[in-house]
């Protein structure tokens, strides 16, 4: 058990480091086993340092940086254990334009092997989609769906 966990931990860690660096355009992040070497029951700690910074603790990160770090973690697990489809509900809302663009590029890159359903308010995200549904309530309290195209 400890051996199998170490294998998957190392694989996840590798992917998390690279996902973080590509989403942040630099910086570094890591996963730590807490307590060290306790492969049987140790937990997984996340540390992240955006480009140019020296600060490493998660709580010191900005709202957008935390979101991007969370996205890196989610997608590193998806790299390692793909799911046939992924549903994202407004995850990119705290991201500025540059970070949102890098996020979208990552989605597009993965969309040939994973199906994405993305709830969003952002035009940039809609433009990356092949299919867009507009949900509205002509009659208050009663939802309808309309297929949209730009």
């Amino acid at each position: 058990i400890a051996h199998r966990f170490k294998e998957s931990f190392d694989a996840l860690r590798e992917r998390f480091k690279s996902r973080f660096e590509s989403l942040f355009g630099g910086g570094e992040a890591d996963l730590l086993l807490i307590p060290e070497d306790d492969w049987v029951s140790g937990g997984i700690e996340v540390i992240a340092r955006p480009p140019g910074r020296r600060v490493k603790y998660l709580s010191g990160l900005s709202g957008g940086e935390r979101t991007l770090t969370g996205i890196a973690l989610i997608f590193s697990l998806l790299d390692y254990r793909p799911s046939p489809f992924v549903v994202l509900d407004e995850v990119e809302a705290p991201l500025d334009e540059a970070n949102a663009a890098r996020f979208i590029r990552m989605l597009k890159g993965l969309s040939d092997r994973m199906q994405f359903i993305v709830v969003t308010h952002q035009r940039l995200t809609m433009e990356a989609a092949d299919v867009i549904y507009g949900i509205t309530m002509e009659e208050p309290g009663a939802s309808v769906a309309v297929s949209l195209k730009f």
Partner: protein, 165 residues
């Protein structure tokens, strides 16, 4: 394997039957606040076997039935069905298309169907388990879930990785 069509009827803010066809690539769902976008995510979770009221943002299971609005009365029954492309055989059932349907009535009684045949919730959960659906806790990221993930304790994250593997 990928999702094809989602049909929602009587579920949350959908008193009328609504049908969505997903792209095998990226499908975007947009609209004003409160229009029903996250309700669509809930419908998908629910038909795939989600049982947690907190995850579905409800108090008890009957709360997913359309509760009425100022021009319609509440209805008695909610039903969601999802059709899945199974050409690659990842679902271990000998059909190239798999349709899962779930319904609930005002008494809270749920019924489940696999390609039209009544089944138990367990049959659906077992079928999905092998594909990675339900095993990867990060595959469905609801509103506000990222903050939740970042605030998880180290042991909880370990559990997520163990479940996925």
């Amino acid at each position: 394997m990928h999702l094809k069509h989602l049909e929602i009827f009587g579920f949350k803010s959908f008193p009328e039957r609504v049908s969505l066809s997903f792209s095998p690539g990226i499908t975007a769902v947009a609209g004003p606040n409160g229009s029903g976008k996250s309700n669509i995510v809930d419908a998908l979770l629910w038909v795939l076997g989600e049982q947690s009221p907190k995850t579905l943002r409800i108090g008890r299971i009957q709360d997913v039935i359309f509760a009425g609005n100022t021009s319609r009365k509440p209805i008695s029954y909610a039903e969601v069905s999802i059709s899945i492309d199974n050409c690659d055989g990842s679902l271990r059932i000998p059909y190239s298309e798999v349709v899962i349907k779930r319904s609930v009535d005002r008494a809270g009684l749920c019924e489940y169907y696999l390609n039209g045949t009544p089944c138990r919730l367990k049959d659906i959960q077992d079928l999905l388990m092998d594909t990675g659906i339900g095993r990867n806790a990060y595959a469905i990221v609801g509103q506000g879930k990222i903050e939740e993930i970042l605030n998880q304790r180290p042991e909880e994250r370990r559990y997520v990785l163990e479940e996925a593997v």
